[in-house]
Symmetry: C2
Subunit: 233 residues, 2 copies
């Protein structure tokens, strides 16, 4: 590449990546400073700065204030997952959203729910489950437990037409949570609701949310095996 071609930060990135991939700069190498690179490439220092900053954000380079910039030895990559409201996820796929309430019962928590939310066996809870449909086909089965004292108004919520997912996002803020992704074979009930064969593999997302030290809800969302969650790196 001639110097004259390097006039954008993307071109600077491409040149740096070529040197890394060509082993001219193997992992761990301390690369030249911004001013030196700007001079070598015949471009502005700000252009080099932007190129290095973005490559550092992706984990390919490691920048330290005093020690300079190195080619990363063991880049730990990170992916950012959006956690959308299920209705929005379906609509963003261009499908018509449908909703069916399956069950709404005031009940004590199961041992699993107790463990996940760190609640006693006599906690006052609402067990609410529903189907989310995309173009009238089963999309997700939502099986949820809500800690009633942490979600004022949940007993009066119009859950026959609005999912607990959507109601909670609008009405009950949370400060943190945990998500688990896994797989499970469909039970007879899940198979019937999701219209798949019994034992069919399901993609499972389990989420607990909290407001400071107060547990709000535990939800287990099951998707058919033809669903996939996508994220960009």
């Amino acid at each position: 590449m001639s110097q004259a071609q390097i006039n954008s930060y993307q071109a600077v990135q491409a040149e740096i990546m070529k040197r890394i991939q060509g082993r001219e700069w193997p992992p761990g190498t301390l690369i030249p400073g911004e001013m030196e690179l700007a001079e070598a490439f015949g471009c502005a220092r700000a252009t080099v700065n932007r190129a290095l900053r973005e490559l550092a954000e992706t984990g390919i380079l490691e920048r330290k204030r005093r020690a300079g910039t190195r080619v990363a030895l063991n880049p730990v990559r990170k992916a950012v997952l959006d956690i959308p409201i299920t209705r929005h996820e379906i609509e963003s796929r261009g499908a018509a959203y449908g909703y069916n309430l399956v069950e709404r019962t005031r009940a004590g928590p199961t041992p699993t729910v107790q463990a996940r939310l760190e609640l006693p066996a006599d906690a006052d809870m609402l067990h609410v489950s529903c189907m989310h449909l995309a173009d009238q086909r089963p999309f997700q089965f939502e099986d949820r437990w809500v800690h009633i004292p942490a979600a004022p108004g949940i007993l009066e919520a119009p859950l026959d037409r609005l999912s607990a997912n959507e109601w909670l996002v609008q009405e009950v803020p949370y400060s943190h949570g945990r998500i688990l992704f896994s797989a499970a074979n469909a039970t007879p009930r899940e198979a019937e609701l999701l219209e798949v064969a019994e034992g069919s593999a399901l993609f499972i997302v389990e989420r607990t949310t909290w407001l400071a030290c107060s547990p709000i809800t535990f939800v287990r969302m099951s998707y058919r095996a033809d669903y996939s969650m996508v994220t960009e790196l």
Copy 2:
């Protein structure tokens, strides 16, 4: 809560969350400014600033330079997933790492691989698959295709003792990629390798990585149903 107790940013956050949860400040509310809140809480403006900044990062509040701070109407939450090297993931769980090469063949891509990497049928590829073990038990089956021209040195890599996952991370930088999470029923071969019953649900992670416009690798990683991937919200 008396004013005297509000002397940390966590206490300011707790008070703000109480007002949001108690519907004193329902979704969409423009909340008082930093100086006003500092005065009301009897604390430093910097303390209020830190509390608001963190609540904005979690998506509970929305801050705009001129328009002030509002309680978010539809917070889209984001989760950050680390993408570790499989050996590191196993070791971070406190287990001993084990590795077995299953297959290494130079071959043309399957239609699926062609589609995922946008490569022609005659692309020069290495098909390499292996088992990752945790305390000598099956942990993950890695089934990978590598585009040889994009991974110089892969044919000489010591894949009988080092996984392609680890070799690639160290040797071949990538600029971007895509990850799909889903579930599938174990084929007879997967069942044998992962030591589960045929048809057992597997958690599947598929990843493609690229350096600029050049595809590098497609990998399908299968985990037993007792595995779960965890992330904090």
